[in-house]
Subunit: 211 residues, 2 copies
DNA sequence: ATGAATTTCTGACGATCGGTAGATCGGACG
DNA sequence: CGTCCGATCTACCGATCGTCAGAAATTCAT
């Protein structure tokens, strides 16, 4: 369905240091932040999980906050690029919309640890970074709303929908994935993304028969 | 649209003690848990917010955990009763479904502080209580899935939908409300609930024209 | 085998946390 | 006026937190 799906490099918490440990710490931190929340996850927990002493973590990280930043920024970067590539590839507004929602949903499933932290732990980040995240989120939502309005003008999308509410609705469908998705189930992230983005689009279509 | 909407009494953190302070502490705690998360909210924060000394809080509460329990249980009780009243009032499966989603959405908007804590801070609760919450959630989702299947058999709902995924989708639309709703906006919780439950139902309808 | 570089451990620090005990305040009531 | 009691404050405890400096261990090229 989409070939815009390359793999994202792990953010380097500290460049040039042991890559394996770096990745392990990043992924374990994301998982713990997801399971217990950022504030409730102690560096002792993280050290135990990766098999290091608490102090040894500081060879790889600068602070606990920077660790959350690394996790959060992984999702942040995704949404920045998704917004930038929004209008590419052409097609009708509805087709463009479904393409974006599909990519969004697939990322949300494949990286549900990161996505959960991105949405739940924003308040623990620095004020400046919070503002950047909010700006990115607003730009992303605005581009979705623009597509909804274009679709309404083209008659592809139900005219009686409030674009703001409708976008919140479809975003909720996708951003809820991390609450229930677990790898190893019957469906792959791609299949889930295809089904949910299709259902989301369905919620926007005009009714063809009487109500 | 629904007259099942009575007001819910504040849970008594400690009965017979000054009600005003009780309510104030409950609501402030819910707001702080929502804003900063349970673990990141110190009793000092709460004491400052209500204008008391930290130690004085223990005249009203038994522990910090019990405070989260009180907040969480407010939402938990709602879902228990919503599940129990699911099949009442009659109507087609789709009508019953929309009625439940409407009530769900309205609660999510009116009590978005509580709802956010209910979904985000589950891991901070005792294991036994977590199990009760999960059981309630599963029963609720099962009753929604049952309605979707009945609707599919009756031809009201698109037959090609996976009931599990479809229910997760509509629940996401509603449970995402606390991320964007703020009181004082243009729309009331009732209006938001009406629009979103309608959009959710739309996402389930069979397409009448070709695809 | 040697030495440098990388990785990990030890042990401590100041701060903050949830929680407790006892003193204090002020109004109600006899 | 004295007593009582609900409500609040003050002061403190032990535990845990994130962080750091420096030593120890390990790895690796030469």
């Amino acid at each position: 369905m989409s070939e815009t799906s390359r793999e994202w490099p792990r953010p380097k918490i500290r460049p040039r240091k042991a890559e394996v440990r770096n990745d392990q710490i990043f992924e374990t931190a994301a998982r713990l932040f997801y399971e217990k929340g950022y504030a409730a996850t102690s560096l002792q927990d993280l050290a135990n999980a990766v098999g290091l002493q608490k102090g040894s973590l500081y060879y790889y990280i600068d602070s606990k906050k920077d660790l959350l930043f690394a996790v959060t920024d992984y999702a942040h970067t995704f949404f920045v690029e998704l917004t930038q590539n929004a209008e590419a590839e052409g097609g009708t507004p509805l087709q463009t919309l479904e393409r974006m929602l599909y990519q969004h949903a697939r990322f949300a499933a494949e990286h549900f640890h990161v996505t959960a932290a991105f949405y739940n732990e924003r308040s623990a980040l620095s004020d400046e970074y919070q503002e950047r995240i909010v700006a990115t989120r607003d730009a992303y939502e605005a581009s979705l709303r623009r597509l909804v309005r274009s679709g309404q003008e083209a008659g592809e999308i139900a005219a009686d929908l409030d674009p703001r509410l409708a976008v919140f609705g479809v975003l909720g469908m996708l951003n809820w994935i991390h609450q229930w998705y677990r790898p190893g189930g019957e469906l792959t992230p791609s299949e889930i993304a295809a089904a949910l983005s299709r259902q989301a689009v369905r919620s926007l279509l005009p009714r063809t028969d009487a109500d």
